[in-house]
């Protein structure tokens, strides 16, 4: 974990790949409902998709803490406080969603 965003390019590609897969999962759920698939099977697929989205959010949050928040904290001052407040609010939204 460095603060110069090395390898951000790979991370970004990996995140985009995961999001493309999630988009496909949602499309699959749509097709399942369209085809009157048994409700419990649709719910299983929705739970898996929600977990996959949460995992992407946690990944982005990790990056954000390790880069933006850490850089701002290293500089200190009001911007540091604001970045931390902002991250806390985003975490609260994730925990509650």
């Amino acid at each position: 974990m460095s603060h110069e965003h090395p390898g951000y390019a790979e991370d970004k590609a990996a995140v985009l790949k995961r999001l493309a897969r999630i988009e496909g999962q949602v499309r699959g759920i749509n097709r399942m409902v369209e085809a009157d698939t048994y409700c419990i099977d649709v719910l299983t697929q929705i739970s898996a998709t929600t977990k996959a989205l949460e995992a992407v959010a946690l990944k982005l949050l990790d990056e954000h803490l390790a880069h933006c928040v850490a850089d701002a904290a290293a500089k200190g001052g009001p911007e540091a406080d604001q970045k931390i407040k902002e991250a806390s609010d985003a975490i609260a939204r994730l925990v509650r969603s």
Copy 2:
């Protein structure tokens, strides 16, 4: 709430519409990451999408309890027990996802 699935057609159309919107939200998140949108804004969008997926799951579960589970319970026997077990397991997956 009746057990003969009245208006199921409308419900299905509404669920499909919601899923199409969620698919669009996921595509939007992909574009945000692609365009290096500020991480906190991406997280806000992911939280909203997760909540929307959960709402669809709760809607499908309501229908399932009101129709399949209620019908099976009305008939009784091992099938009723199995339907209830299955619903409980799906609820546990939702609560934990």
Copy 3:
């Protein structure tokens, strides 16, 4: 799973035991904060306690679906619809909490 609440006595004893343990966990968290325990360790303990509470809720919900809701559904009529609506609302609260 029967609808005459057999073994409800044992289940109740088990649920009470789990709740007593959770009460002890919360008391332990209080002591940790009192003693200025490292924040991350307190958070780990809170996550474990939240999971334990959720597990009790899922257990009670299972029982409720298998007994109250199944009985009401077997009888049918408006009471059945109301029990199912009530269970759906409780599930939504759990998923969102």
Copy 4:
């Protein structure tokens, strides 16, 4: 938000008060089950208690990010990376619990 823990004393007192209230809520749930209170009412109380515990966790996490993590990030080096990794893991546990 400063990094010298001003007013930490008040925050600690407030957190301890909230935890004492949560302990009372869990004891109340125990009494409800003991008295065979209607299951749905017990579930409502459990959801409220889970939310209260989560709110304490988010409060502690805010403090932790604003003090420990910010201080470590300001100093930099491997300790900063480790504190951020540790916080990310705690956040993941909270989101999943």
